[in-house]
Amino acid sequence: MSQFHQVFFEESFEGLDVMESGLLSLDVGSADAESINTLFRAAHSIKGGSGTFGFTEVSDFTHVMETLLDEMRDGRRQVADGTVRALLESVDCLRDMLGRLKGAEPLDQARIAQTKAVLEAELAGAHSEDRNASNGLPATPEPIGADATDLPGSAWAIAFSPHRHLLKTGNDPVRMFRELAGLGDLKVAVDLRGVPNFFDLDPEECYLSWKLTLTGDVGRDDVAEVFDWVENDCDLAIYPLLKHDSAAVVAEQRQGEAEAVKTIQAAPFQIIPNSAEPTAHEDAKPAAKSAGSIRVDIAKIDHLINMVGELVITQSMLSLVGERFEAGKLDQLRNGLTQLERHTRELQESVMNIRMLPVSFVFSRFPRLVHDLSTKLGKKIELKLIGENTEVDKTVVELLADPLVHLVRNSLDHGIEMPQVRLAAGKPETGTVTLQAYHRGGNIVIEVKDDGQGLDGAKLRAKAVEKGLIGADAALSERQLYDLIFLPGFSTADKLTDISGRGVGMDVVRRNIQALGGNIEIASELGKGSTFAIYLPLTLAILDGQSVAVGDEIYILPLGAIVESLNISEDRVNRVAGKGETFHLRSQYLPIIRLHRIFQVPGAKATKLTDGLLVVVESHGVRCGLFVDDLLGQQQVVIKSLEANYRRIDGVSGATILGDGSVALILDIPGLVALANQ
């Protein structure tokens, strides 16, 4: 069964997302039937699946949710704020449970019991006729065929007269008799008296009835089970032949059994989950989103399969050429190789494409966050999501979540003002937070924008001076002032709230984004609002690179970072004692970084600036000139992590393997600049 668990978990997490967004958009008081139905179906699917795949805690839990939703669906229960809140909490709790089960971690029993109690309290508010269901009890099983009559060595007499439509239910007496025969020794006597004369006969109807005797080690419930599906489609009587011979006794017994069954059934449900190890919720949040698998659009797979097909054709053509090669076939070989190159590249692109996920994977959690937070803060906030379908590498998507949550929390807490303050400032009462994703160049940009109070440069400066981070007379541009908030321990809030400022600061946000090879920029206008823009590379695994030669080494520069390459003359170079050298390029002075010096490469051919080339690069607003021996080719390189295989090196963002098998380091421009400044 475990082979289906992966799909079950994925599907359940999706179901939870559906429930969450469904609950958030539910109109309290006048919810439409289809939305409730969708919610019900999601809970129902999780329950069915968890029961089947052996996660009984989950199915017990979802059972309560399902009952509640069922009442809402049938109109027996009004959609109230409290119910929605309880259901949202249950969604969280379920997500936690599933996350832990997936990771084979112990469940948070205290939380489960608590959430379940809240749900059950909600249920208890229903009409008294639903009380039975609200206790989490399944419907009492039908009394027929309880184990108590399971007497070995029995024999049974069965009178079976199907109603005439029986065949149209897809049931077939012959099959049922075969099943009975499998239980013991069966004797069948058919009663033909119901068959009409030939002209009145409808071949689709069943006119026969039967008297059967079954001898063997068979319990009553086994016999009854065979007729389970046709209970209302036939007249059926089952009498014991040996041990009991009076139908009345049996009927009496049934009554008693029914009582017994009820009490037995009730017992296991009264066990209260043991809350021996209540773990804190905060640090045990499962990384529900970081699934080890990925759901891929079928069109992408189709394209991939196509490309592989093309590749196979090219390969077979090439091997044909290679088998009996002669000089005249050189053109054919070249064509083949060109084709091979094209197809390989396309294949690579489509494989990379598989890793791309829409940012809606991250965005989808924000409606809930904003809903909860704005209630807590007493603010009115509308959330706008734009460009949710923009695709980003899976790793980026996963690592983006935390920084974005932090930024959105900040916007809600510090950015957007209280309703009355907004009204006084002549702004609409409801603040707007916009999350937008779009592509620009080789980057994906994700913006968190609010129309709140904006950053106060003067306040930031005062705070920084107070903390001794800058001198009282330091001249800082607006942008440099904003950048102050990225300093560790820097908070603009007058007082810390429990929403933001919970230990993790903007410095961590920036570090996380930079770890992804990205950058964050702030634009703000006092009184109008702020925009935090995150720039990230599209993918983390592949890079368009320019290889450069330095001595015997080859380094890779990200192609996107290169502005131009030029030969330089000495008269444009300025040397500042102790500060290195700069190059005067069109009204700008660029620091020159000699790669062979920084990396201490032996055997550099160009030691005089005029002998080599200066590659002007720009990254995250920093420009500099890298001095190298020569430019080599451009190629796409697959990035291998250095940290994973060796250790982190300043100025290097990763490594790649070249066509000849040697390793080349990929240069990290901002890191190099920092290194050169030391």
Partner: protein, 120 residues
């Protein structure tokens, strides 16, 4: 080969049903909801249909009703997958023309046993 149509909106459930039935030598076709199921049932004759009850677009009860109305499916065993809480659906299903039901949660053996019961 005996062919079975499995209709369920849950991929994991579908996978499990399919895997079990295929393993037992049945030919299985999957459908994701009642609409899909009805279309597939029209384009190919199945010896048995197993359907979930709660599904988007067209639920299992309506699917059974629609199938029973087709000449080809007059006598075909139509089984519904239901949960113990959905037992009131049993009667609805019966009225729609269902042959019987399989109560979730079930394990592969139970499923096979039920299928063998109707297919003999």
């Amino acid at each position: 080969m005996t062919s079975i149509l499995a209709v369920d909106d849950s991929a994991s459930m579908r996978q499990m049903v399919c895997f079990t039935l295929k393993g037992a030598g049945y030919d299985v076709v999957e459908a994701v909801d009642g609409v899909d199921g009805l279309n597939k049932a029209k384009s190919q004759a199945f010896d048995c249909v197993v359907t979930d009850v709660n599904m988007p677009n067209k639920d299992g009860i309506q699917l059974i009703r629609d199938l029973r109305a087709l000449p080809n499916y007059k006598y075909t065993p139509l089984l519904m997958l239901t949960t113990e809480a959905g037992m009131d659906k049993k009667q609805l299903g019966k009225e729609a023309g269902a042959t019987g039901w399989i109560v979730k949660p079930f394990n592969p053996e139970q499923l096979l046993k039920t299928i063998q019961k109707v297919l003999g």
